[in-house]
Symmetry: C2
DNA sequence: TGAGTAACCAAGCAAGCGCTAGTGTGAGTG
DNA sequence: CACTCACACTAGCGCTTGCTTGGTTACTCA
Protein backbone atom coordinates (compact mmCIF):
# COMPACT_ATOMS: atom_id res chain seq x y z
CA UNK A 1 0.00 0.00 0.00
CA UNK A 2 1.91 2.97 1.40
CA UNK A 3 5.53 3.33 0.32
CA UNK A 4 6.95 6.35 2.18
CA UNK A 5 10.73 6.42 2.59
CA UNK A 6 10.29 6.17 6.32
CA UNK A 7 8.23 3.04 5.95
CA UNK A 8 10.81 1.49 3.67
CA UNK A 9 13.52 2.10 6.22
CA UNK A 10 11.40 0.61 8.99
CA UNK A 11 10.72 -2.41 6.80
CA UNK A 12 14.46 -2.91 6.33
CA UNK A 13 15.06 -2.82 10.07
CA UNK A 14 12.17 -5.19 10.67
CA UNK A 15 13.62 -7.68 8.21
CA UNK A 16 16.87 -7.70 10.13
CA UNK A 17 15.15 -8.36 13.44
CA UNK A 18 12.90 -11.03 11.95
CA UNK A 19 15.99 -12.89 10.76
CA UNK A 20 17.78 -12.52 14.08
CA UNK A 21 14.89 -13.57 16.28
CA UNK A 22 12.24 -15.05 14.07
CA UNK A 23 8.90 -13.38 13.44
CA UNK A 24 7.07 -14.76 16.45
CA UNK A 25 9.78 -13.90 18.94
CA UNK A 26 10.16 -10.38 17.62
CA UNK A 27 7.91 -8.17 19.72
CA UNK A 28 6.53 -4.85 18.64
CA UNK A 29 8.56 -3.33 21.47
CA UNK A 30 11.79 -4.74 20.04
CA UNK A 31 10.89 -3.44 16.62
CA UNK A 32 10.08 0.00 18.00
CA UNK A 33 13.31 0.22 19.97
CA UNK A 34 15.38 -0.74 16.93
CA UNK A 35 13.59 2.01 15.03
CA UNK A 36 14.11 4.58 17.75
CA UNK A 37 10.43 5.09 18.48
CA UNK A 38 7.92 3.82 21.04
CA UNK A 39 5.89 0.70 20.45
CA UNK A 40 2.61 2.56 20.03
CA UNK A 41 4.03 4.71 17.25
CA UNK A 42 4.64 1.64 15.16
CA UNK A 43 0.96 1.37 14.44
CA UNK A 44 0.97 4.70 12.71
CA UNK A 45 3.04 3.15 9.91
CA UNK A 46 1.61 -0.38 9.91
CA UNK A 47 -1.88 -1.40 10.90
CA UNK A 48 -0.65 -4.75 12.20
CA UNK A 49 2.40 -6.77 13.06
CA UNK A 50 1.30 -8.98 10.18
CA UNK A 51 1.48 -6.05 7.78
CA UNK A 52 5.13 -5.53 8.65
CA UNK A 53 5.86 -9.12 7.73
CA UNK A 54 3.99 -8.77 4.45
CA UNK A 55 5.90 -5.58 3.65
CA UNK A 56 9.24 -7.29 4.25
CA UNK A 57 8.39 -10.23 2.02
CA UNK A 58 6.88 -8.11 -0.73
CA UNK A 59 9.94 -5.90 -0.86
CA UNK A 60 12.25 -8.89 -1.25
CA UNK A 61 10.17 -10.65 -3.86
CA UNK A 62 9.74 -7.52 -5.97
CA UNK A 63 13.50 -7.06 -6.02
CA UNK A 64 14.06 -10.67 -7.00
CA UNK A 65 11.67 -10.33 -9.93
CA UNK A 66 13.24 -7.08 -11.09
CA UNK A 67 16.79 -8.44 -10.93
CA UNK A 68 15.93 -11.67 -12.69
CA UNK A 69 14.09 -9.89 -15.50
CA UNK A 70 16.95 -7.48 -15.98
CA UNK A 71 19.48 -10.29 -16.05
CA UNK A 72 17.50 -12.24 -18.64
CA UNK A 73 16.98 -9.15 -20.78
CA UNK A 74 20.68 -8.34 -20.82
CA UNK A 75 22.22 -11.76 -21.35
CA UNK A 76 22.83 -13.69 -24.55
CA UNK A 77 20.18 -15.94 -26.04
CA UNK A 78 21.95 -19.29 -25.65
CA UNK A 79 20.25 -21.55 -23.12
CA UNK A 80 23.47 -22.08 -21.21
CA UNK A 81 24.01 -18.36 -20.74
CA UNK A 82 20.43 -17.84 -19.70
CA UNK A 83 20.64 -20.65 -17.16
CA UNK A 84 23.83 -19.24 -15.74
CA UNK A 85 22.41 -15.72 -15.68
CA UNK A 86 19.33 -16.88 -13.84
CA UNK A 87 21.35 -18.74 -11.21
CA UNK A 88 23.59 -15.72 -10.75
CA UNK A 89 20.64 -13.38 -10.46
CA UNK A 90 19.06 -15.65 -7.87
CA UNK A 91 22.11 -15.62 -5.65
CA UNK A 92 22.67 -11.92 -6.22
CA UNK A 93 19.27 -10.97 -4.89
CA UNK A 94 19.49 -13.65 -2.21
CA UNK A 95 22.55 -12.01 -0.71
CA UNK A 96 21.97 -8.33 -1.36
CA UNK A 97 18.49 -8.53 0.12
CA UNK A 98 19.43 -11.38 2.36
CA UNK A 99 17.27 -10.48 5.33
CA UNK A 100 14.13 -10.04 3.30
CA UNK A 101 14.67 -13.32 1.50
CA UNK A 102 15.42 -15.31 4.61
CA UNK A 103 12.17 -14.02 6.03
CA UNK A 104 10.32 -14.86 2.82
CA UNK A 105 11.74 -18.39 2.80
CA UNK A 106 11.28 -19.26 6.44
CA UNK A 107 8.45 -17.12 7.77
CA UNK A 108 6.05 -17.38 4.87
CA UNK A 109 3.68 -19.52 6.87
CA UNK A 110 3.12 -16.74 9.37
CA UNK A 111 1.37 -14.63 6.74
CA UNK A 112 -2.38 -14.43 7.06
CA UNK A 113 -4.29 -15.94 4.13
CA UNK A 114 -5.03 -12.63 2.41
CA UNK A 115 -1.41 -11.48 2.33
CA UNK A 116 -0.26 -14.96 1.40
CA UNK A 117 -2.59 -15.08 -1.60
CA UNK A 118 -1.42 -11.71 -2.83
CA UNK A 119 2.27 -12.55 -2.49
CA UNK A 120 1.87 -15.99 -4.00
CA UNK A 121 1.21 -14.34 -7.34
CA UNK A 122 4.50 -12.52 -7.16
CA UNK A 123 6.35 -15.68 -6.30
CA UNK A 124 4.65 -17.63 -9.05
CA UNK A 125 5.72 -15.01 -11.57
CA UNK A 126 9.28 -15.44 -10.40
CA UNK A 127 9.18 -19.22 -10.59
CA UNK A 128 7.70 -19.02 -14.08
CA UNK A 129 10.90 -17.32 -15.22
CA UNK A 130 12.86 -20.26 -13.86
CA UNK A 131 10.73 -22.91 -15.47
CA UNK A 132 11.04 -21.22 -18.85
CA UNK A 133 14.83 -21.13 -18.59
CA UNK A 134 14.98 -24.75 -17.47
CA UNK A 135 12.73 -25.78 -20.34
CA UNK A 136 15.05 -24.14 -22.85
CA UNK A 137 18.06 -25.85 -21.32
CA UNK A 138 16.31 -29.21 -21.47
CA UNK A 139 15.22 -28.67 -25.08
CA UNK A 140 18.78 -27.80 -26.02
CA UNK A 141 20.01 -31.02 -24.42
CA UNK A 142 22.12 -29.01 -22.03
CA UNK A 143 20.80 -30.82 -18.98
CA UNK A 144 18.58 -33.85 -18.53
CA UNK A 145 15.74 -34.93 -16.31
CA UNK A 146 12.17 -33.97 -15.56
CA UNK A 147 11.50 -30.24 -15.99
CA UNK A 148 9.53 -30.07 -12.79
CA UNK A 149 12.05 -31.97 -10.70
CA UNK A 150 15.06 -30.19 -12.09
CA UNK A 151 13.70 -26.75 -11.29
CA UNK A 152 12.72 -27.80 -7.77
CA UNK A 153 16.10 -29.35 -7.13
CA UNK A 154 17.98 -26.36 -8.48
CA UNK A 155 15.91 -23.85 -6.55
CA UNK A 156 16.29 -25.95 -3.44
CA UNK A 157 20.06 -26.10 -3.76
CA UNK A 158 20.20 -22.33 -4.34
CA UNK A 159 17.82 -21.35 -1.57
CA UNK A 160 19.59 -23.59 0.91
CA UNK A 161 22.77 -21.56 0.44
CA UNK A 162 21.43 -18.98 2.89
CA UNK A 163 22.01 -21.61 5.56
CA UNK A 164 25.73 -22.08 5.00
CA UNK A 165 27.20 -19.57 2.57
CA UNK A 166 29.47 -16.90 3.98
CA UNK A 167 29.57 -13.83 1.71
CA UNK A 168 32.86 -12.79 3.30
CA UNK A 169 34.53 -16.04 2.29
CA UNK A 170 36.77 -16.52 -0.73
CA UNK A 171 33.99 -17.54 -3.11
CA UNK A 172 31.72 -15.03 -4.79
CA UNK A 173 28.02 -15.67 -5.32
CA UNK A 174 28.72 -15.77 -9.06
CA UNK A 175 31.27 -18.55 -8.54
CA UNK A 176 28.68 -20.46 -6.58
CA UNK A 177 26.10 -20.11 -9.31
CA UNK A 178 28.53 -21.25 -11.98
CA UNK A 179 29.56 -24.26 -9.92
CA UNK A 180 25.97 -25.35 -9.53
CA UNK A 181 25.28 -25.02 -13.24
CA UNK A 182 28.46 -26.96 -14.00
CA UNK A 183 27.43 -29.67 -11.56
CA UNK A 184 24.23 -30.47 -13.41
CA UNK A 185 25.72 -30.19 -16.90
CA UNK A 186 27.01 -33.46 -18.40
CA UNK A 187 30.05 -31.80 -19.99
CA UNK A 188 32.39 -30.10 -17.52
CA UNK A 189 33.70 -26.78 -18.82
CA UNK B 1 17.40 -38.58 29.06
CA UNK B 2 14.20 -40.45 29.83
CA UNK B 3 12.73 -42.63 27.09
CA UNK B 4 9.45 -44.05 28.41
CA UNK B 5 6.95 -45.13 25.79
CA UNK B 6 4.55 -42.47 27.01
CA UNK B 7 7.17 -39.81 26.49
CA UNK B 8 7.91 -41.07 23.00
CA UNK B 9 4.27 -40.81 22.07
CA UNK B 10 4.04 -37.31 23.48
CA UNK B 11 7.14 -36.34 21.52
CA UNK B 12 5.51 -37.58 18.33
CA UNK B 13 2.41 -35.50 18.97
CA UNK B 14 4.52 -32.47 19.79
CA UNK B 15 6.39 -32.82 16.51
CA UNK B 16 3.13 -32.73 14.63
CA UNK B 17 1.98 -29.58 16.38
CA UNK B 18 5.34 -27.87 15.98
CA UNK B 19 5.11 -28.44 12.23
CA UNK B 20 1.54 -27.22 12.04
CA UNK B 21 1.97 -24.09 14.12
CA UNK B 22 5.66 -23.51 14.56
CA UNK B 23 7.44 -23.91 17.87
CA UNK B 24 6.81 -20.42 19.19
CA UNK B 25 3.12 -20.40 18.38
CA UNK B 26 2.56 -23.79 19.94
CA UNK B 27 1.53 -23.21 23.55
CA UNK B 28 1.88 -25.73 26.33
CA UNK B 29 -1.90 -25.68 26.56
CA UNK B 30 -2.22 -26.72 22.92
CA UNK B 31 0.30 -29.48 23.45
CA UNK B 32 -1.50 -30.71 26.52
CA UNK B 33 -4.87 -30.74 24.81
CA UNK B 34 -3.52 -32.72 21.88
CA UNK B 35 -2.12 -35.20 24.39
CA UNK B 36 -5.36 -35.45 26.32
CA UNK B 37 -4.00 -34.04 29.56
CA UNK B 38 -3.95 -30.66 31.28
CA UNK B 39 -1.15 -28.18 30.72
CA UNK B 40 0.31 -28.62 34.19
CA UNK B 41 0.73 -32.35 33.70
CA UNK B 42 3.05 -31.76 30.79
CA UNK B 43 5.82 -30.75 33.13
CA UNK B 44 5.85 -34.13 34.73
CA UNK B 45 7.27 -35.55 31.46
CA UNK B 46 9.40 -32.61 30.35
CA UNK B 47 11.06 -30.04 32.55
CA UNK B 48 10.66 -27.36 29.93
CA UNK B 49 8.99 -26.47 26.66
CA UNK B 50 12.55 -26.36 25.34
CA UNK B 51 13.12 -29.96 26.36
CA UNK B 52 10.19 -31.05 24.20
CA UNK B 53 11.76 -29.40 21.22
CA UNK B 54 15.09 -31.06 21.93
CA UNK B 55 13.39 -34.44 22.27
CA UNK B 56 11.67 -34.04 18.91
CA UNK B 57 14.87 -33.12 17.11
CA UNK B 58 16.96 -35.79 18.81
CA UNK B 59 14.47 -38.47 17.87
CA UNK B 60 14.53 -37.46 14.21
CA UNK B 61 18.28 -37.16 13.97
CA UNK B 62 18.92 -40.50 15.65
CA UNK B 63 16.61 -42.18 13.16
CA UNK B 64 18.33 -40.49 10.24
CA UNK B 65 21.72 -41.72 11.43
CA UNK B 66 20.48 -45.26 11.97
CA UNK B 67 18.80 -45.49 8.57
CA UNK B 68 21.78 -44.05 6.71
CA UNK B 69 24.22 -46.41 8.42
CA UNK B 70 22.04 -49.38 7.70
CA UNK B 71 21.65 -48.39 4.06
CA UNK B 72 25.39 -47.97 3.61
CA UNK B 73 26.13 -51.26 5.34
CA UNK B 74 23.73 -53.16 3.12
CA UNK B 75 24.47 -51.68 -0.30
CA UNK B 76 27.16 -52.58 -2.79
CA UNK B 77 30.60 -51.04 -2.68
CA UNK B 78 30.50 -49.10 -5.96
CA UNK B 79 30.47 -45.33 -5.44
CA UNK B 80 27.41 -44.94 -7.61
CA UNK B 81 25.39 -47.40 -5.55
CA UNK B 82 26.52 -45.81 -2.32
CA UNK B 83 25.56 -42.36 -3.56
CA UNK B 84 22.16 -43.57 -4.63
CA UNK B 85 21.67 -45.46 -1.37
CA UNK B 86 22.54 -42.39 0.66
CA UNK B 87 20.13 -40.19 -1.27
CA UNK B 88 17.40 -42.76 -0.91
CA UNK B 89 18.04 -43.13 2.80
CA UNK B 90 17.91 -39.39 3.22
CA UNK B 91 14.50 -39.10 1.60
CA UNK B 92 13.23 -42.20 3.35
CA UNK B 93 13.89 -40.80 6.81
CA UNK B 94 12.79 -37.35 5.69
CA UNK B 95 9.33 -38.62 4.87
CA UNK B 96 8.77 -41.37 7.40
CA UNK B 97 9.79 -39.05 10.24
CA UNK B 98 8.66 -36.00 8.36
CA UNK B 99 7.42 -33.99 11.31
CA UNK B 100 10.54 -34.46 13.35
CA UNK B 101 12.77 -33.51 10.43
CA UNK B 102 10.80 -30.44 9.48
CA UNK B 103 11.17 -29.30 13.06
CA UNK B 104 14.87 -30.09 13.02
CA UNK B 105 15.37 -28.17 9.79
CA UNK B 106 13.31 -25.10 10.56
CA UNK B 107 13.20 -24.73 14.32
CA UNK B 108 16.79 -25.56 15.16
CA UNK B 109 17.49 -21.95 16.12
CA UNK B 110 14.98 -22.13 18.93
CA UNK B 111 17.12 -24.63 20.83
CA UNK B 112 18.97 -23.27 23.80
CA UNK B 113 22.78 -23.38 23.49
CA UNK B 114 23.23 -26.50 25.61
CA UNK B 115 20.78 -28.62 23.63
CA UNK B 116 22.06 -27.20 20.38
CA UNK B 117 25.64 -28.18 21.22
CA UNK B 118 24.62 -31.71 22.09
CA UNK B 119 22.55 -32.20 18.95
CA UNK B 120 25.15 -30.62 16.70
CA UNK B 121 27.36 -33.63 17.29
CA UNK B 122 24.65 -35.94 16.05
CA UNK B 123 24.12 -33.86 12.96
CA UNK B 124 27.82 -33.64 12.26
CA UNK B 125 28.08 -37.42 12.42
CA UNK B 126 25.32 -37.65 9.84
CA UNK B 127 26.89 -35.11 7.52
CA UNK B 128 30.21 -36.92 7.77
CA UNK B 129 28.58 -39.95 6.17
CA UNK B 130 27.53 -37.77 3.28
CA UNK B 131 30.91 -36.17 2.75
CA UNK B 132 32.57 -39.59 2.66
CA UNK B 133 30.16 -40.84 0.02
CA UNK B 134 30.56 -37.69 -2.05
CA UNK B 135 34.34 -37.97 -1.82
CA UNK B 136 34.23 -41.51 -3.17
CA UNK B 137 31.99 -40.46 -6.03
CA UNK B 138 34.33 -37.61 -6.91
CA UNK B 139 37.40 -39.85 -6.75
CA UNK B 140 35.70 -42.34 -9.06
CA UNK B 141 35.00 -39.57 -11.56
CA UNK B 142 31.30 -40.18 -11.19
CA UNK B 143 30.50 -36.55 -10.53
CA UNK B 144 32.56 -33.38 -10.72
CA UNK B 145 33.00 -30.21 -8.73
CA UNK B 146 34.16 -29.10 -5.31
CA UNK B 147 33.52 -31.69 -2.60
CA UNK B 148 32.26 -29.08 -0.19
CA UNK B 149 29.96 -27.39 -2.65
CA UNK B 150 28.59 -30.59 -4.10
CA UNK B 151 27.55 -31.95 -0.73
CA UNK B 152 25.93 -28.67 0.26
CA UNK B 153 24.05 -28.41 -3.00
CA UNK B 154 22.86 -32.01 -2.85
CA UNK B 155 21.75 -31.77 0.75
CA UNK B 156 20.03 -28.49 0.00
CA UNK B 157 18.13 -29.96 -2.93
CA UNK B 158 17.11 -32.97 -0.84
CA UNK B 159 16.10 -31.04 2.26
CA UNK B 160 14.09 -28.60 0.22
CA UNK B 161 11.85 -31.43 -0.95
CA UNK B 162 9.90 -31.17 2.31
CA UNK B 163 8.57 -27.89 0.95
CA UNK B 164 7.01 -29.23 -2.22
CA UNK B 165 7.00 -33.02 -2.37
CA UNK B 166 3.68 -34.80 -1.97
CA UNK B 167 4.14 -38.38 -0.74
CA UNK B 168 0.70 -39.27 -2.07
CA UNK B 169 1.67 -38.25 -5.58
CA UNK B 170 2.73 -40.64 -8.34
CA UNK B 171 6.44 -40.44 -7.61
CA UNK B 172 8.08 -42.41 -4.81
CA UNK B 173 10.86 -40.97 -2.66
CA UNK B 174 13.20 -43.51 -4.24
CA UNK B 175 12.36 -42.18 -7.70
CA UNK B 176 13.13 -38.71 -6.47
CA UNK B 177 16.50 -39.75 -5.10
CA UNK B 178 17.44 -41.52 -8.31
CA UNK B 179 16.44 -38.52 -10.40
CA UNK B 180 18.64 -36.24 -8.35
CA UNK B 181 21.62 -38.56 -8.63
CA UNK B 182 21.02 -38.84 -12.37
CA UNK B 183 20.83 -35.08 -12.67
CA UNK B 184 24.32 -34.53 -11.34
CA UNK B 185 25.91 -37.46 -13.18
CA UNK B 186 27.43 -36.65 -16.59
CA UNK B 187 26.20 -39.88 -18.19
CA UNK B 188 22.44 -40.32 -18.15
CA UNK B 189 21.42 -43.86 -17.41
C1' DT C 1 -1.03 33.33 10.28
C1' DG C 2 -3.38 29.50 10.81
C1' DA C 3 -5.37 25.06 9.14
C1' DG C 4 -4.01 20.46 8.07
C1' DT C 5 -1.31 16.51 8.62
C1' DA C 6 2.42 13.11 9.45
C1' DA C 7 4.93 11.41 13.20
C1' DC C 8 5.29 10.50 17.64
C1' DC C 9 4.45 9.61 22.91
C1' DA C 10 2.53 8.08 27.61
C1' DA C 11 -0.35 5.01 29.66
C1' DG C 12 -2.54 1.00 29.94
C1' DC C 13 -6.05 -2.86 28.79
C1' DA C 14 -7.40 -7.62 27.98
C1' DA C 15 -5.66 -11.78 26.77
C1' DG C 16 -2.45 -15.17 26.73
C1' DC C 17 2.02 -16.99 28.08
C1' DG C 18 5.33 -20.59 30.54
C1' DC C 19 5.53 -22.56 34.59
C1' DT C 20 4.77 -23.76 39.79
C1' DA C 21 2.63 -25.41 44.04
C1' DG C 22 -0.01 -28.40 46.24
C1' DT C 23 -3.16 -32.32 46.00
C1' DG C 24 -5.34 -36.55 44.69
C1' DT C 25 -5.48 -41.40 42.72
C1' DG C 26 -4.89 -45.96 41.33
C1' DA C 27 -1.55 -49.71 40.28
C1' DG C 28 2.41 -52.20 41.90
C1' DT C 29 5.53 -53.81 45.91
C1' DG C 30 7.28 -55.17 50.64
C1' DC D 1 -1.83 -53.86 55.14
C1' DA D 2 1.18 -49.67 54.57
C1' DC D 3 4.00 -47.65 51.34
C1' DT D 4 5.85 -45.73 47.04
C1' DC D 5 5.63 -43.58 42.79
C1' DA D 6 4.19 -42.46 38.14
C1' DC D 7 0.76 -39.66 36.50
C1' DA D 8 -2.70 -36.49 36.49
C1' DC D 9 -5.44 -32.60 38.38
C1' DT D 10 -6.82 -27.57 40.02
C1' DA D 11 -5.67 -23.05 40.62
C1' DG D 12 -3.27 -19.34 39.70
C1' DC D 13 1.15 -16.27 39.84
C1' DG D 14 3.95 -13.07 37.50
C1' DC D 15 4.92 -11.49 33.29
C1' DT D 16 4.66 -10.33 28.30
C1' DT D 17 2.00 -9.85 24.33
C1' DG D 18 -0.29 -7.06 20.36
C1' DC D 19 -2.77 -3.27 20.14
C1' DT D 20 -5.74 1.07 21.49
C1' DT D 21 -6.65 5.55 23.13
C1' DG D 22 -6.20 10.36 23.55
C1' DG D 23 -3.21 13.83 23.17
C1' DT D 24 1.26 16.49 21.71
C1' DT D 25 4.79 18.16 18.55
C1' DA D 26 6.84 19.75 14.19
C1' DC D 27 6.39 20.76 9.61
C1' DT D 28 4.04 22.20 5.20
C1' DC D 29 1.64 25.22 2.44
C1' DA D 30 -2.29 28.30 1.25
Amino acid sequence: MNASPRRKELTRLAAQLFVQEGFDRTTVRMLAQEMGIKSGSLFHHFKDKQEILAAVIEEGTQNALAIARKALAECAAEPEMRLRAMARAHLETLFTDRNAHVVALFEWRRLDPAASAHLSHLRDAYEALWVAVIDDALAAGLIHGDRFLVSRFVLGALNWTVRWYDPNGPRSPDDLADELVAMIMPTPA
